[in-house]
């Protein structure tokens, strides 16, 4: 069986400008920041980013890498409004497909199930329909006759996610309370790159943890990157909480100044 371990740089070298890229985690929680940092060091740009947005979106927006964003929100949680995302939106920097959280989830489910869409009871009556004129509705063929949004599949060229543990084959384990949509991102993508706090032997994954912590299966994973502290400054429960001081610094420092230190090669991947 194939060993899929690689470095963050090797993972990013497989991405191309213009791709549709899904990023796991949620807000400022378990974001694959080591992979995002490697992406920021690369020249990859013109991306369609699909994310329950946090600093991943803020940084890629500040760096001008986003052509289009698909998201229900962008937030740093403890700092409700993401400053770089705000600045980008207020200057009209990129196209936005703003959808509801449930629409977002069912869009990933549709892609994972190779369906063109899934019906969702969300969006109708709201301005999500006005700002996304491409959205279509579908009416139940059964007696109820209710009309739903036909949420299109959110197919991804690539996905980036960060979990607590993985083996070298790509079996990924979360040890925190919430899987977020990370497994769906991997299933919806042509290629998924999974970073983790620690790579362990397969047998060790379930030595002390229940099998249902094995969130991501290896057939959905292309590359495994060991990145200790790889979600920093976002949280990665139970390994560590959010580094609020580091997040505050990010949120209050002009991007160019922050990026100088943050993207310097001396800062090892995941540090």
């Amino acid at each position: 069986m194939s060993d899929k371990t690689m470095t963050a740089e090797q993972a990013v070298s497989r991405l191309e400008s213009g791709m549709t890229l899904g990023i796991g985690g949620w807000g400022s929680r378990r974001k694959p920041m080591a992979l995002v940092r490697a992406l920021l060091r690369s020249g990859v740009t013109d991306l369609t980013v699909v994310s329950c947005g946090g600093p991943d979106v803020g940084m890629l927006a500040a760096a001008g890498r986003i052509r289009k964003l698909v998201a229900p929100f962008v937030t740093l949680d403890s700092i409700p409004l993401e400053p770089h995302y705000r600045a980008a939106r207020e200057s009209g920097a990129f196209e936005l497909m703003e959808v509801d959280e449930a629409m977002f989830m069912w869009g990933l489910h549709a892609a994972a199930n190779r369906l063109p869409f899934l019906p969702v009871r969300a969006g109708i009556g709201s301005d999500v329909m006005r700002v996304n004129p491409g959205l279509r509705t579908v009416t139940s063929p059964y007696e109820d006759g209710e009309t739903f949004v036909a949420m299109p599949a959110l197919r991804l060229d690539a996905a980036l996610v960060h979990l607590n543990r993985a083996d070298r084959l790509g079996n990924g384990q979360y040890l925190g309370p919430d899987p977020y949509f990370d497994d769906l991102f991997c299933e919806a993508a042509e290629a998924a790159y999974l970073s983790c706090e620690r790579i362990v032997d397969t047998a060790e994954l379930t030595k002390e943890a229940a099998p249902q912590t094995l969130l991501v299966q290896r057939h959905t994973v292309t590359g495994v990157v060991e990145a200790p502290n790889g979600a920093h400054f976002t949280s990665c429960a139970p390994d560590y909480g959010r580094d609020e001081a580091a997040q505050r610094k990010y949120a209050t420092t002009p991007w160019a100044e922050f990026a100088e230190g943050y993207l310097a090669p001396s800062e090892g991947a995941g540090s």
């Binding site: 207020e90 703003e98 509801d100 969702v120 109708i124 709201s126 301005d127 999500v128």
Partner: protein
Amino acid sequence: MTATRALLLPPTRAEYCVIACAEAWRGDGEVLASPMGLIAAVGARLARLTFAPDLLLTDGEALLVRPDGTTEGWLPYRRHLTLVTGGRRHVMMGASQIDRFGNQNISCIGDWERPKRQLLGVRGAPVNTLNNPTSYWIPKHSRRVFVERVDMICGVGYDHAAGARHHRIPRVVSDLGVFDFATPDHSMRLASLHPGVTLEQVREATSFDLTIPDEIPPTREPTPDELRLIREVLDPDNTRTREVGS
């Protein structure tokens, strides 16, 4: 000051707000109470500890917890969304803007294409309003929040809810009073004034015409036991005054 003396002080505005929020969940049964904002959260826990003992509460992350913090269930985001569409939830959201039919905005101020001020995004407001009862908690009642028309409809109001069989906005609570939509055209009505607030104050802080009943009831008084729970158990550090001053 001793605890006993503290309990003799009359209810503050913030405490009337807690009561008004708590009342939103009265009679809801075994559903998830999802409060957003500090006072709404104290209200939900107060309801759970008193007149709505079957309510479910979360820790704000992925766990269902009892008021003492004991874990009783697992509710990650994806299951939370299923609970929403299953209807077994009553959420109390915030609103950057709300209009007279209860349309709510948390996405952006100004033109969506290039907003004057980007806010959070629609989040789950569209799915919430079409699937489970959605109330609102607004700590600072002003013309900037209570607007004639919202800039981006996130939460769906009554004038956009035709055919939405599970749509319901039980109440809007602000620091001035309680509002509902019990009018023939489902436009907003003043349901009660918090003690100490005048009708004129509400009118001045609202950009649209409210329906005003002939007799305006006051928001009900907290019971001595409720005051004790708020002051000594649920919010002993008095963080509620940070959201609503006296």
